[in-house]
Amino acid sequence: MSSQPILAEPRLRAYLAAVAAGLPGPRRHRERILTELGDGLDQDAAGRVAAGLGPAAAVDAAIDAFGSPDVVAAAFAGELATASARRMLGWFVVTGPLVGVWWLLVLHPHPWRAGVVALVAAIPVIPVVGVTLVTVAATFATTGRLMRWLPETGPRRALVAVVAVGVLVVGADVAVIAVYLGSGWPARPLGVVAVAASVIRSGCCLGAVRHAAALHRRLVDRTGRDAHR
């Protein structure tokens, strides 16, 4: 087998570029997939060169063996969609405390020892936060290490979970802003910070929801095309 990589072959680079064009999802994942595919192609072609084929013919044969860029990219679509979904759900979880802490400071019942009922009465979106966390935890578990024991959540359902959680988060932000504005003390500095944090997070959430919905549509379209082949 050749010890020199033959990835420099223009056709190999063009093939990988065509695969890359069909890969959605997180950039780091895409780069890893392309590096791995490039290595596999390189080894396949090098093996054919060692068996007596010319470099160009070896590259052509390796590419034929790997399949068309569309087919290869489509094969990774599910994994990339799941990776995107997990990433977006992780982002929702991380932003929860970053935004929630301000609302807790602004809306918490006084005195603190009033208990959970008073806390929910003061911040009525707390049950929504609970539902959101349960949905995120369930999706993480069934797309990760626990899927050996639990029913696996497919990429399309994981993206639906992202859309659902995103809508819940935006709804909670809007609701808590409405509660604050209706409370009669909107001029407090802490309140301004909390409203700003919620508005920024809601904007980002809507972006994530749109992205997840687009990925979902793409997966559905692809499944439909495959079914008609």
Partner: protein, 109 residues
């Protein structure tokens, strides 16, 4: 061999070829082909995503290394993967015994 026959068994096959030691993606394809006497020639688009899914499930782990100027991702079986492989083997033994008994049973008199 028709690819649909592999449905449900791909995970077990990939875990089995990784049992002797770490392999990179292309070597996994080669190992399945060689280990099956050439009968199972899995497409790239099947093997690489399946390896990524197994890693997500914690059944295999991967490390990146540089070999001869190439960046290469090597996969190895985890302890969970070893356990899962044992379970796959048990299921397969029962399944194959039952199917073999039905398909090669005594001919009607």
């Amino acid at each position: 061999m028709r690819p649909e026959l592999l449905k449900g068994h791909l995970d077990a096959l990939l875990l089995a070829v990784l049992e002797p030691g770490p392999l990179h993606g292309y070597a996994v394809i080669e190992a399945v082909r060689a280990g099956s006497g050439g009968a199972l020639d899995l497409p790239t688009g099947t093997v690489y995503p399946a390896l990524h899914r197994l890693e997500r499930a914690g059944l295999i782990a991967s490390t990146w290394e540089t070999v001869g100027g190439r960046r290469r991702r090597a996969y190895r079986l985890t302890a969970s993967g070893q356990t899962a492989l044992g379970e796959h083997r048990t299921v397969w033994d029962r399944f194959s015994t039952a199917v073999t008994a039905l398909l090669t049973g005594p001919a009607p008199a």
